[in-house]
Assembly symmetry: C2
Homo-oligomer: 338 residues x 2
């Protein structure tokens, strides 16, 4: 039983040179495409997640209301549903899965929307974290198609500090001998757990831990319980090569790294015509608000709207903090009304 | 050729129960103890460092002027010079080296100062990072002996967030199969390198990386060069068990976790009589200024003096940024004059 559909992309020549044969884009839609195809929302997936982790946001009464909008969730390459190291046949399987960029993701998502559905305008593209990175790419690569973007807790270009944080995550994962350079037969569990522990300090803010929200709000019985049940519990079931594919995409994210903008980051930001609400988490340790401010300052139609939260990166998280969910939902509603 | 002296502590019963046989405290002194023994400064060592890494601060004209002061640098347990996993004979060698607290360190350092030198008053105790943790302990455990303290980029109690950051560091180090639960025959190089990469994102601030100070100010040729030469270069020569001993000390640091204060942190802070300049780095990611503010608010004679720097934790680092060195030197001079 599969709850999603698959768009067959055929052989896709990727930005960095490899050809991914019989590439697949897994997606799920909600609501109905109206007659003039003017009610389209694209909701993107974050790192190590699928549409299954995001679809809870889509419900009547919320900003992403399926009774009003036709909402598409395309799964990011590497997430295990769309083409990934874990589901691609040899020779491009496992450790040989090619390097995939945000550019590749968005080009293929664009094909889904245009070839499959004949969509010409998108009312809103939005998403959290790596999904925010994809959101910026949609805005920069299809400025005449995308009317609104709302990237939250993410960036248009991976900052150097963010890159270094992810180097630590990768180093912890791959330090496990069981990883075997990606040719593991059994899960490199020690590495996945180590990666989870490294992530734990980054995901939430100092203030979150100071206020003991892991216990008081999330209900864990101790800090160690939080580290094991929440963090190790999140990463342990994932495929290591899939994670590394997505981390590479993230680390190399840059809306200007393509033939359109030739590395001119300000030019790429300036080309985003969409009305944009850029929403960093006020205490996000790896997507700090300062980077969003720079982006907004260089975008023609953007507003800087930090999420007032001590939940760090999880200010935009998958429903982790109800107050932040409400803030985001209200903001998206306002943006959609405008 | 050994450039330091060793104080033989005999068998030391440690706070957590073990007895460390023939414990050794390695130390180095600078300058001359004056007749009334009123010119004593204790300068402590930070994580994974020895007196060799700190003594550059001690020079004529600087705050720690050996022509005026008798300066003692006692080496922290676990640093490879004082008793450590790497230099303790069986059965307490390597992975069996016992748990050592800041309390143990300071009690033994106190013995050195009183038994060996007959010192009754200390003009100043100071240090960076883990050395700041020791500094707070000196103030709380010997309030009638310590006249001034200047802890910089450190805390009186390891915060929960700081604890989590170090969990990530430890997980990366020990994910390497070569670590062999501490019974390695060969250096767990992969784990040490992974630990270094994890540390890299924490040690300097987002702004440091944004401003490319690794290249512009420290002179590395690329971000990867900085990660390898600076970070891996720092941790790779170290002994893994030694590092883990010090990390445990750090993670379990708490000036009130002893029979004097019975876990009453505010009481312990309130007992620090010394005139204190508490100097967090303004952009330190694991000793954020907010924690220092809480400490200062609960100390009777303390001043909150954040180091105005984007060098993150390295605002207090070993001479890494000359501007910060100057700030610290001036502040210490002011404190010593008062």
């Amino acid at each position: 039983m599969v709850d999603y559909e698959t768009f067959e992309l055929g052989d896709v020549v990727l930005q960095k040179g490899a050809t991914l044969p019989n590439a697949k884009l897994a997606y799920k839609t909600f609501g109905k495409l109206n007659q003039d195809k003017s009610n389209v929302i694209v909701f993107l997936t974050y790192m190590a997640s699928t549409h299954l982790d995001s679809q809870w946001v889509i419900k009547e009464g919320s900003a992403l209301d399926p009774s009003k909008y036709f909402i598409v969730i395309p799964n990011c390459f590497g997430n295990g549903f769309s083409s990934s190291p874990s589901n691609t046949p040899a020779p491009y399987n496992k450790a040989r899965f090619p390097l995939v960029t945000y550019y590749d993701n968005i080009k293929c998502q664009h094909r889904l929307l245009t070839e499959k559905f004949g969509i010409k305008k998108i009312k809103l593209v939005t998403g959290w974290s790596m999904a925010a990175g994809q959101t910026f790419h949609w805005g920069a690569l299809y400025p005449n198609m995308v009317e609104r973007i709302a990237p939250f807790c993410g960036s248009a270009k991976c900052s150097r500090h963010n890159f270094v944080f992810l180097e630590g995550v990768k180093a912890a994962l791959t330090a496990d001998a069981a990883f075997m350079d990606g040719w593991y037969k059994e899960k490199p569990a020690k590495g996945l757990r180590a990666m989870a522990r490294v992530y734990a300090g980054w995901g939430f803010s100092q203030a979150f831990y100071r206020e003991r929200l892991d216990l008081e709000r999330l209900g864990y019985s101790s800090l160690e319980d939080f580290l094991v049940a929440f963090w190790e519990g999140f990463f342990l079931p994932k495929d290591a090569n899939n994670l590394l594919t997505m981390l590479w995409t993230w680390q190399n994210g840059d809306i200007s790294d393509n033939e359109v903008y030739n590395g001119d980051f300000k030019k790429a930001l300036g080309a985003i015509k969409a009305k944009a609400y850029v929403m960093p988490g006020q205490t996000d340790l790896y997507f700090p608000p300062e980077d969003s401010q720079f982006e907004v300052a260089n975008m023609p139609n953007a507003k800087f709207l930090p999420v007032p939260s001590i939940w760090g990166h999880f200010a935009g998280g998958p429903g982790t903090n109800p107050d932040d969910v409400k803030f985001l939902d209200n903001t998206l509603k306002e943006l959609l009304r405008s």
